[in-house]
Structure formats: C-alpha cells, structure tokens
C-alpha cells in the first residue's frame, strides 16, 4: 500500500490518485520551491495543494530527492525557523535549478503534446 499524506481536514474518502510518472518528482519539487523557500513537509503540502490532492507523493521518496537535487546544485538549503519555533532546513531554487526546471518543463510539454497528438489521432 502506498503511504500517503491524508490532508488534515479532509474527511471525505480520498479521490482516485494519479500515480507519479517516473522522473516527474524532481520537476514537481523544483516547481514547488520556485514559488518561495519551503521545508520538506511544506514541499509535500504545496504539491498536494496545487494538484488539489490529485498527486500523492510517497513521504519516503521526498527526502532522498531533496538531497539529490541539493547535491546537484539545483536547490540550496538554509537553516531557518519554522512556524512551530523549530529549526528546519528551507529549500529554495538556485539559478541552475531554474534553468533545469525550464528545460524539464519544455521536455514535459513536448511529451504531453506528443502523447496528446497520438491519442487524438
């Protein structure tokens, strides 16, 4: 069973989940932090929020992805204080990350367009 975040105020039955395509998690994370620095949990919430809970990110795979992106220099982390007075690592997009996001986004659009063309043919 996939582990997933249950939105705190959501008592309705979960809607059918959309499965994450391989390789799209990095793009989603980059997009999430492009809107402003976030800690890990915040990244998760923001993706769920934007996708209106359609995208469920396995909690276990979020952090390795964050560290991988940081290691590649696409996001940078700094220590800040979170809302509950706890020190947390806040991730923000770097310039290289922004370029990466744009390139991944172009690839994505091309892919989606191509698939759509195939399906509509």
């Amino acid at each position: 069973m996939a582990k997933r975040i249950m939105p705190p105020n959501n008592s309705e039955p979960a809607r059918p989940e959309a499965h994450l395509l391989q390789g799209t998690l990095d793009m989603l994370i980059l997009k999430a932090v492009s809107l402003g620095p976030l800690h890990g949990y915040g990244v998760l919430l923001r993706i769920q929020q934007i996708s209106k809970d359609a995208l469920q990110i396995p909690q276990g795979s979020l952090y390795p992805a964050l560290y991988r992106l940081e290691h590649r220099g696409w996001i940078a982390a700094e220590w800040g204080e979170s809302e509950n007075k706890r020190k947390a690592k806040y991730y923000r997009l770097t310039a290289a990350g922004r370029r990466q996001l744009e390139s991944e986004r172009r690839d994505w659009d091309r892919l989606v367009g191509a698939i759509a063309d195939v399906l509509e043919a």
Binding site: K3, G40, G60, Y63, Y67, K89
Partner: protein, 879 residues
C-alpha cells in the same frame, strides 16, 4: 558544495526527517486525531526512517566512504558473532603470512636486495663454466694464473681479487689483544666495489705484491672500539699475527665485504702456493659503456687461452653477476624454501576460501532476507568482500607479528648455516609484500563465495526455510579445494620427509672416532713468529707436554683440522705398486702430532701410528685412511707404498706406514660425497712438513688442540690456557668446543633446512586437517535433516557417521594420489641436496601418504561424532 562530513550530514538528515514527522503529527492532531494515534500513524506512514536517511546520504553523494565504514562495522559485528570461524581464518592467515614474511626476509636479504654498493648491477665475477656429459656447473674460485690473465687482458673490466673467507688472527694495538677477522684483498678492491675509505686509502700495487710493505685497512667498528676512534690513526702501527702492520685506511661504518671482516690486508696473489689452487675470487666492475655481451666475449677469449680441458668436460670462462656468484650455494636451498612457504600460503588461502564458501552457504537465509529487504546484489558482494578484507587485515597484522618473531628465530638458526650478506630484517619491503599478500588473499578468497552467494534465488532460499538451497548447493568446488590442499600437503611433506631423512642419515653416520670427553680449541698460527717448522713443532711439543701433565687429562694432540670440519685437500701421485700416476689425484690432508689417533680413538687398522721418532730428520712417513686405500690402492698392499705430495707444495716422497679407520668430514670437493662423508685422507707428522707449506696453510686453516679428559672437564679449559701461555703468552685460544659441538655445527645447514621444511610441512598438514574438518563439520550441519531421517528409519549411528565422514577420507585418498604424482616430479629438484635416500624413496612416500590419510581420517571422523549427538525426533520436529 558538500564536504565529507558524515556525522554532520547524518544529523542534518535526522533533523529533517524528525521535523517532518512532528509537523505531520501536529497536523493530524489538529485534524482531530488522538495524539498517540497521530504519532503512531505519522511514523507508520513515513516508513523506515533509517532506510530513508540512508537513501538521503547516498543521494548526497556520500555513498562510498560512508557505506564502506558501515560495511566494516557490520563485518566486525558479524565476525565477532562467529568466533570459531574467525579464529580459524585469522590463525590460518597469520601462520601463512608469518611464515612467508620470515622466509621472504631471508630470501630478500640474500638473493634479492641489491648488494650495498653503487651500481651493483655492473659488478660481475668471472666463473669457470663446465659443460659436457654431466650437468653444467659454474665454479667461482679461480687460480692465480686465471687471475693474472684477467688482470692483464680484460680491458673491459676494472677487476680486483680477494682470498678465501675471513681468518681469525691475533691483533694487538696499544694494550688491547684480541682475535679479529682478517680478509685478504687485492689492490683496487675497494675501488671496484665503489666504496672509498672514510680515511686514508686502499692498497697500492706495490703493497699488494710480494715483498711489499705490511699494511692494513681497518673497519669502522675496529677503529672505533680497538683504536678509540683515533683521528690520527693513519700511519700508525698495529700488531697483527705478531708482526707490525701500518694502518693505511679506515672504511666507513656499515661497509661490508663478502665476509664479515674487521680488517683487510693485501692478498698478494701469486701463481704458486696458494695461487696454484682455485683460491681466489675475482670481483670486477664493467667499465663505463661496456655491455655484458662484450665483457662475456672477452672472458671467453681469455678462458680459451688459460683454461685447459679436464676429463670429458669442456670448460670456459663466463660472467656471473657478483651477487649470484656469491650466493650460488645458497640459491637452491633458499628457492626451495621459498617455494615451500609459497605452497603453504596457497594451501592457507584455499582453506580460507573453503571456510568462507561454507559460511556463505550457511548464511543463505541472512543474505536472502537482506536482498528481499532491498539490498542490492552489489551491496551484498561488497559486504562479503568487506568481511574478507577485514579478515585479511587482521590476519596480515597477526602475520606481521609472527613474521617478526620468525625473523628473530631464523637469524639465530641462520648464523651457523647462512653466510648472509646483508642483515636479515623485517624491512618495509618485506612488510609490504606481507600486507599485499594478505590483502590479495582477502580479496581473492572473498570474491568467489561472494559471487556464489549473490546468485541466490531469494524466493527459494526464503520459501524453503533456508534448507533446500543449502542442501542442494554444489559441493564440488569445496571438495576440489580440499583434495587440492591434501595434494599440496603431500608435496610438501614428501620434500620435508626427504630432507629429514637426509639429515638423519648424515647424523647417523659412524663418526669414526669417540667424541666423548674431548675438548678442542683453535690457535691461529698465521703469525710471523711461526713461519718455520721448527718454531711450530716447538710450540706444539711444549704446550702438549704441559697439557698432558695436567690432572684429569688423558691425552693431547694437535691437528691441522678436526673431523667434521672441512679439511685441506692436496694433489698427490702414486709412485709405486700396482698404480702409478702421471696425473694428480686428490685427497684430504692433515698434519698431526703423534697422539692424534689415541686422543680421538680412531682405530689403527694396519701398520703403525706416528711416534716422536718421526721427526724432521727421519724418513718421511704418512698414514692413510681406509677410504684412501679403497679408492687409490685397491688390490695392493698399502704399507710401504710411496706417494708424491708435490701437488700440495710438499715436494717430497712419503712412505705409507699405517692405515687408520675413516672419519667423517665436511666435503669440500667431489660430486659423489654428501655434505658430510668419509673422505680419503693422508696424515703426516707436523714435524715433517715444510716452512713454506705451513705459512700457506696457516692463512687458511687454524690448527686445533685436542684434549681427551679422563675425569671431570672442570678446570681443563683454564689449564689448557695456562699451558699455552707458559709457552707463548701472546697466543690466545679462540673458542673452546667439545667434539660434539663441532659435529653439531658441521650439520647446521642440513639441520636448518630439515627443521624449516619440516615445520612448513607440519603447518601444511595442520591446514589440510583443518580444511577437511571444516568440510565434514559443515556437511554434518547441512545434512542434519537427512541424517535425522536416516536415524529415524533405523540406521545406526556408526552407519550415519561413516556416510558423513567418507567423503573426507575419499578426498584425502584422491589428494594423496595426485600429490604423489606431483611429488615424484618435484622431488627431482631436490636431488642435489638429498643424501642417503633416493628422491623417489618409496618408504618416504608411503610413510607420508599414510600419515596424511591418518590425519585426514581423524579430521573426518571427529566432526562426524556430532551425528551421535543428533536426536532424530528433535531434528525432524524442527523442520
């Protein structure tokens, strides 16, 4: 950019994850869930924090160092949990590496490490090369004629020459008197070696020729201790052999020539006397720009003009590197030892590979579980390799320690038997080899089991409770290993057996004399005051007279050399009777005083012994040994025959007046004699020798005073010293020995070899036994269920034990058979050092084979005893 700070990173990751869980918990509580339930759910949904943290660290690029440390930590834990296996593996490795380190340090010092001179690769020694019907061989010592030919004609070489070994001579400077080792070297000796004196100079050409000034070069140690580091020592006079010598040079600290010498005097090579025989060793340096081939070509030309054919063999001059010329005698025994110890290492590695293989099979379940939990194949292999490397490192460290101990022991043993050119020491090079060997062993024997283990079928291993896979796995790799170990063990044991039998044969030879209650001591007569027969005879007669008068002394005599020592050999011609020679024959030669045969209780077989009447004015008499009669006077009456001893510088005709029993001597010549043998001997009275002859032989040999005691030996040594001092207070005795000591030393080399190879073979036997034991014990553990069923179905314990133990015995049989074939070939390599027993000796082969089989049977049945402890019902229930 991150740096390698694993602890820092781990904290960061942990803080990230904990923060996440806390926030999620808080959100869940805010959503109306009970706090305890919320905490539980948050943790559950997150999954394994440890696994995620691990992934994060990997993602952050810290894979290798981090994982390697983790592997090592885990490996340590695993190894600690199975102490028997770990101990067996580490002990095996330590013994193998220790033995290899120790032997290699000797090989390194003697054969491999370059000589301690500048450009040692350009130092050569001309050697006579014989080839013909027999085998080819090299002979390094040269005659005076050959030396002169090389000195005068070899334009490509800068050559010098030195005499045979270092002699102990009496040395006096100021008020200190001691016995020092003197080596005789020619002019240019130090220049050729490339080590100039620290102070002063080497010998000039005039000093190195007959009638030259008496000069000496002293070693640093002698200069420091006996001459008190006197900076003005050059030009000073020291007393050597009772004559004044002028010090012309001091060598730097650490300088070593071919013998361990304290000082050097001019050799004054000649073509007569000493120079008639092959008593010189030539050392030369290739001149700049000269190639080996050029030099060799010139040598051949010189050889063709100066050497003549002997018998059916052809002879010529060739070049050897100086180092191989010096170590010619040691090379074969050392290489045999090296090969033996390498075999032991091989057996040890096979053994450990077997142990690891069995272990990997026993760990099927653990490994399958880890793979099911997501451990990659590469990670598993890495983990198993880490364990092997860990074992290798531990074994290597323990082995280095053992090796150091071994080197100390070898040094003691080798003092008697190896003329070691350089200090034998556990140096960096040796340690490097040991460390390399242990790492290589670790990786090699870790790789195979790791690969086998990683081919596991997870489902099969887990589904069948880890039984099916272990039981069904292919037993043959391990079986082949065990059989191979036994075969290699057989090889080593046969080698050791042959050498031990050689030693036993030599030790068991009838000495030909009674060694009990005999004390001997040497006095160097290489002394200017003893250059004449009259002076020497006076000294011998007077000192012996006094010794005989001492209480507790039965008889006393002097001889040029002792039984079990290497004697002088001379050329002679038979002058009358059935055999008359034109060519020279060869025999050992002793001068003695009349009581010699009585002191050593050598039986007189025919004729008479010498008396005081056999003096310089009487007819020249000789006594020969039984072997001499058999070899040279067979079918003839030896008494009254005459011999021409001119070949030894004793230009005379002697009459044989007696025949005595054979004594064992160290052989210095002849292919047919073992290292110790009854050689043909000629004895003459000391009083009937010649001045010139005594002067020459006393530079090579130090005569021994021999005393037979009738009572307790206490006080005899002091009495002998007093007796000698009463005749000449300046002559010191050098080292008192019992005849048993002399005999012991004569066999030191053979004892050393037999003991070392014996120890290595015992080690191989032990390792093979451990290998068999491990295999059978393992199969008992693996076949518990099958054995339980058999027992439940009514098989007796004895039947079950036989079934389990049989493969061990069968494999040992196969190994012994294969090993016998190997040994039959390999033992031929030993033919030059095996005596009194044939290399293919069936008795040795049979005894060794039986011994191996007995050990193998014991090693097989011992673990099979566990079958008796199996409770059939319980075993089956566990399944």
């Amino acid at each position: 950019m991150r740096f390698w700070r694993p602890s820092h990173l781990s904290r960061e990751v942990a803080s990230d994850i904990e923060g996440h869980i806390e926030r999620y918990t808080a959100d869940l509580i805010a959503g109306g869930i009970e706090p305890d339930e919320a905490r539980r759910r948050a943790r559950m949904e997150f999954g394994s924090t440890a696994a995620v943290a691990e992934e994060c660290r990997e993602a952050a690029g810290l894979r290798w160092p981090d994982e390697f440390l983790r592997d090592l930590r885990y490996g340590t834990r695993v190894l600690r949990k199975s102490p028997t296996f770990t101990t067996a593996a580490v002990a095996t490795l330590a013994l193998c590496i220790g033995a290899n380190t120790a032997i290699f340090s000797v090989v390194d010092a003697v054969l491999l490490r370059p000589l301690p001179y500048p450009h040692p690769e350009r130092l050569v020694t001309p050697a006579r090369y014989y080839w013909g019907q027999g085998e080819s061989s090299y002979n390094v010592p040269q005659t005076g004629r050959t030396w002169e030919a090389i000195r005068d004609n070899a334009t490509v070489l800068d050559a010098a020459v030195f005499g045979y070994g270092a002699n102990k001579v009496n040395f006096a400077a100021g008020n200190s008197v001691q016995n020092v080792r003197q080596e005789r070297v020619s002019t240019g000796f130090f220049r050729v070696l490339g080590i100039p004196p620290l102070m002063g100079r080497g010998f000039s050409a005039t000093e190195d020729s007959a009638g030259g000034r008496d000069v000496a070069v002293v070693s640093y140690a002698l200069w420091k201790h006996a001459l008190h580091s006197d900076p003005a020592v050059i030009g000073q006079s020291i007393m050597l052999r009772g004559a004044p010598y002028t010090v012309v040079g001091v060598m730097p600290a650490g300088f070593q020539s071919s013998s361990k010498a304290d000082l050097w005097t001019p050799l004054r090579p000649s073509t007569t006397g000493e120079g008639e025989g092959s008593n010189y060793t030539i050392v030369a340096r290739l001149k700049p720009g000269v190639t080996w081939a050029q030099a060799e070509g010139q040598m051949e030309a010189i050889g063709a003009s100066v050497l003549k054919k002997t018998g059916s063999d052809n002879v010529g001059l060739r070049l050897l590197s100086f180092q191989s010329g010096l170590t010619k005698e040691l090379r074969t025994p050392l290489l045999i030892l090296w090969a033996a110890v390498g075999l032991v290492l091989l057996i040890g590695c096979v053994n450990i590979a077997g142990l690891l293989l069995a272990r990997a099979a026993g760990r099927t379940r653990e490994l399958a579980t880890r793979m099911a939990l997501g451990s990659g194949r590469a990670a598993l292999i890495r983990q198993l390799l880490a364990e092997s490397v860990l074992l290798g490192l531990c074994g290597g460290a323990a082995g280095a320690l053992l090796g150091w101990l071994g080197v100390q022991a070898l040094k003691l043993l080798a003092q008697d038997s190896l003329n070691v050119w350089q200090t034998v020491a556990l140096n960096g090079r040796v340690l490097g080899v040991a460390a390399g060997a242990s790492m290589l062993a670790g990786i090699l024997f870790g790789l195979y089991p790791a690969l086998v283990a990683s081919r596991l079928e997870i489902r099969a291993a887990l589904g069948e409770g880890g039984r099916g896979v272990a039981g069904a796995r292919n037993p043959w790799p391990r079986r082949l290993m065990v059989a191979g170990e036994v075969a290699l063990g057989m090889l080593l044991l046969v080698g050791a057996g042959l050498l031990i039998r050689t030693f036993a044969y030599l030790e068991g030879l009838n000495p030909g004399f009674d060694a009990r209650h005999v004390i001997t001591a040497q006095v160097s007569l290489q002394d200017a005051r003893y250059g004449t027969v009259a002076r020497v005879t006076h000294l011998l007669d007077q000192s012996l007279e006094r010794m005989r008068e001492m209480p507790g002394v039965d008889s006393a005599a002097v001889a040029l050399s002792l039984p079990y020592e290497q004697a002088l050999n001379v050329g002679f011609r038979r002058m009358d009777g059935k055999h008359v020679d034109t060519d020279w024959q060869i025999s050992n030669f002793f001068y003695i005083t009349p009581e010699f045969f009585r002191v050593l209780r050598i039986p007189l077989l025919r004729g008479r012994v010498f008396t005081a009447a056999d003096n310089s004015t009487a007819n020249k008499a000789a006594i020969v040994s039984e072997r001499f009669v058999r070899m040279y006077l067979s079918g003839d009456d030896p008494l009254g025959r005459h011999l021409d001893l001119g070949g030894g510088g004793l230009e005379d005709k002697v009459e044989i007046v007696g025949v005595v029993g054979d004594i064992q001597q160290k052989s210095g010549w002849g292919e047919d004699y073992g290292p110790v043998a009854a050689m043909p001997d000629i004895y003459v009275p000391a009083a009937q020798t010649f001045d010139q002859f005594l002067q020459v032989v006393h530079t090579w040999f130090t005569p021994s005073w021999i005393v037979r005691t009738s009572g307790p030996p206490e006080g005899v040594i002091a009495g002998m010293q007093r007796a000698l001092a009463a005749v000449d207070p300046q002559l010191p005795f050098a080292g008192f020995h019992s005849m048993d000591d002399v005999r012991y030393h004569a066999l030191a080399g053979e004892r050393f070899q037999a003991a070392l190879l014996g120890a290595l073979a015992a080690l191989a036997l032990l390792l093979a036994a451990v290998g068999i034991y491990g295999m059978i014990a393992n199969s008992v553990a693996e076949r518990r269920r099958e054995l339980g069923i058999r027992l439940a179905l009514g098989a007796t314990v004895a039947q079950a034990m036989r079934a389990v133990a049989w493969p061990g015995v069968a494999l040992a049989l196969a190994g012994v058979a294969a090993g016998s074939v190997l040994a039959a070939f390999a033992s031929r390599l030993l033919r030059h050092i095996v005596w009194g027993v044939r290399p293919g000796d069936p008795l040795t082969f049979a005894a060794v084979g039986l011994c191996l089989l007995a050990v193998a049977a014991a090693a097989s049945f011992l673990p099979a005893l566990r079958v008796a402890r199996l409770n059939a019902a319980e075993t089956l229930r566990q399944e």
